[in-house]
Point group: C2
Chain length 411, copies 2
């Protein structure tokens, strides 16, 4: 008998019919003898509807009051599911974040969980009840309702699993697991049975948006086994867990991630003095622009070229900031490019395998794809290439690292 | 500087535009220097929408879970109004029933308020904030969300006013006060400046559905001055208060109430033995049918006729129950009539005036209206008449008791 936390997102509870389907699934697990805590999001579209309502009153809703409104979305779904379970003869009870209670800080609209009281839930589980908890919300020490920010239901699920020392936290989504790369780009992409937290973090931040990054970090920190599954299809999904002793069979890389949302900016001919990186990125950061890859070329004639990538939406803003900085630093010029894509190979296996990066570069060279930037970490190598080569690059790398599904290799 | 509790119903907060209008009104009071606690209902239609949602899952929603869903309606309006006030530069904060906290018993869907913690609200008022409270809801000692039942927001308003010892509880509605009778029936009906709690109770239960009976009872018990006002029109409304020393000018009766929702049932030729009333009404009550007027005629040949009225919706059910009882009691027959109406004159003034009832009967006799049943209390005389005479009877009584508006008397 296991203790499982199951989280269903907005699409999975988007209609009454879907809530009934979720109830069927929960019932199946319960009848198999598992203790269950179910975390729900609001019905898909409901959170937006509530925010729009608030925006009709004011463009800048007071964060505290916005949380009071928005938190009603999950409050409705949890009670509906509890009803649906009770109708099926499964004892169940619903709790809001306040009722659990899920204590957070007071950062309304983006609160962080500080502590979870597991007493009530343990009592209910002991009494044979399924506990249905509102995701995405909590309460601060003064009793104010808080929300964790968009997608925070994943975090609620993981935090509950950690607090209850659950055997597994299952995140139900509209995909049946984590793939070696996007199956829309590479038909031979394969579902991974297992992936480490670190790999998942690199995959997630690079564009495989299956799970909230924060939830994966949380799960890694507290070592909560996380499983990504399809809400309405059967299947084992993908288990995200710690990096157990590396077996011989471990693949070198687990997946190919990519991202088309970035743009590249280069400041050329910057006098190469200590602190120049800060002088360039300080104003960017002050303008609230997130920077992803950063590359500084070796100095040449006492000047250097400094390149970084930002989200495409921030490109114009970043360009302006950089123009000002360029004048102050007497740099030669600022150039930029929005037609780029980032492709990354990710895998804990590369730690123990030399030559992974060069194998990547070789595969790209074979396809005549020029590499504009390179950035490496312990379990990831990322390159920036021209956007139009993205699909070609991903397919080439998928094959080069032997990730293609065997059954389909003949296609 | 007064402390005022203001309650706005579902129609008054039915749209964002109306919530803005409520904010304007609250701002006006605040700027006049009053301390304000505002109690809100859900947007009109929202509570029904939420109940319908629950009914899609199950015909018999678990009461605890239904309260979790339904209570979200007010949670949305309170935060919207708080936002609208803050936008106007009026510091404000919203509280759910749980946050206040409004402690109730655990009778989900029809809970009763046990206690209100006034600490938080007093702190906010002291700090110059308008406090916006969700009506209709509370929390039981175990932290379960409860609702007070339909229309319970009036009760929340009065209970808060009592707990805070407010100077006045203002109930904003879609009428500008309590009238001597329904203006749709009698054009000369007048708005009353003042009415006693007792009179209001008799008026309310008889069909002038301005206020929840429970709220009036509550207000009377704790002597909370209650004022009925129009949400979007200016005017003094009607003050409902205790019966202060009777002045010379006090009118004999305050208003004419009426009701078309009842039906009459008579069991004829019942052997007149002790306990016969209970034998007749016991089974009716056991079938969950509310009885209003009850008349038992004097015994004749050791049998008696026993007549009572019920809501028309319960007529068929009551008739069946009565048929069974009639057989058991060897009564002669059961007859009934659904084409009846009840007309009542209400007024604390009749206590000190003799002949009020006969003046009523005289006025009806002049119009050739036959009286089928009579029932009297200290401050009320009710008669049952044929339904088609209702308007005629109300107009005749309104004139006979000098309630017609002087300005319009020439009409």
């Amino acid at each position: 008998m296991a203790l499982i936390v199951q989280k269903f997102g907005g699409t999975s509870v988007g209609t009454v019919e879907r809530i009934e389907q979720v109830a069927d699934k929960v019932k199946k697990f319960r009848e198999a003898g598992d203790d269950l805590v179910v975390v729900l999001s609001a019905m898909s579209g409901e959170t937006n509807r509530l925010i729009e309502l608030a925006k009709k009153i004011t463009d800048q809703p007071v964060p505290r009051e916005l949380d009071v409104i928005v938190s009603t979305g999950e409050q409705v779904t949890i009670a509906l599911l509890a009803m649906a379970l009770i109708k099926r003869g499964i004892p169940a009870v619903s709790y809001t974040g306040n009722q659990v209670r899920i204590l957070t800080d007071s950062a309304h609209n983006k609160a962080r969980i500080l502590q979870i009281d597991d007493q009530k839930i343990r009592g209910d589980l002991k009494a044979g009840r399924v506990v249905v908890v509102a995701g995405f919300q909590g309460v601060d020490e003064h009793g104010n309702i808080t929300t964790l920010g968009r997608g925070g239901s994943d975090t609620t699920g993981v935090a509950l699993a950690a607090a209850l020392k659950a055997d597994e936290c299952q995140i139900y989504t509209d995909v049946d697991g984590v793939y070696t790369t996007d199956p829309r780009v590479v038909a031979q992409a394969q579902r991974l049975d297992k992936i480490t937290f670190e790999e998942m973090l690199e995959m997630a931040s690079l564009g495989s948006k299956v799970l909230q990054i924060r939830a994966v970090e949380f799960a890694g920190k507290y070592n909560v086994p996380l499983r990504v599954l399809h809400s309405f299809q059967e299947g084992p999904g993908t288990l995200i867990t710690i990096d157990e002793e590396e077996s011989m069979e471990q693949p070198i890389i687990s997946g190919i991630a990519f991202n088309r949302d970035e743009a590249k900016l280069t400041i050329r001919g910057v006098p190469d003095t200590p602190g120049v990186a800060f002088k360039i990125l300080g104003p960017i950061s002050a303008a609230n622009i997130e920077v992803d890859m950063i590359v500084q070329n070796v100095s040449h004639d006492n000047t250097t070229d400094f390149t970084f990538t930002v989200h495409r939406n921030d490109y114009d803003k970043a360009h302006k900031v950089l123009e000002t900085t360029a004048k102050e630093l007497t740099a030669r010029e600022v150039v930029g490019d929005t037609n780029i894509a980032k492709v990354s190979i990710v895998g804990v296996g590369m730690r123990s395998h030399a030559g992974v990066a060069s194998r990547m570069f070789e595969a790209l060279a074979k396809e005549n794809i020029n590499i504009q930037m390179i950035s490496t970490s312990e379990i990831k190598v990322s390159v920036v290439i021209e956007e139009k080569y993205l699909e070609l690059a991903v397919r080439a790398l998928h094959t080069a690292f032997e990730l293609d599904a065997p059954a389909r290799q003949g296609e």
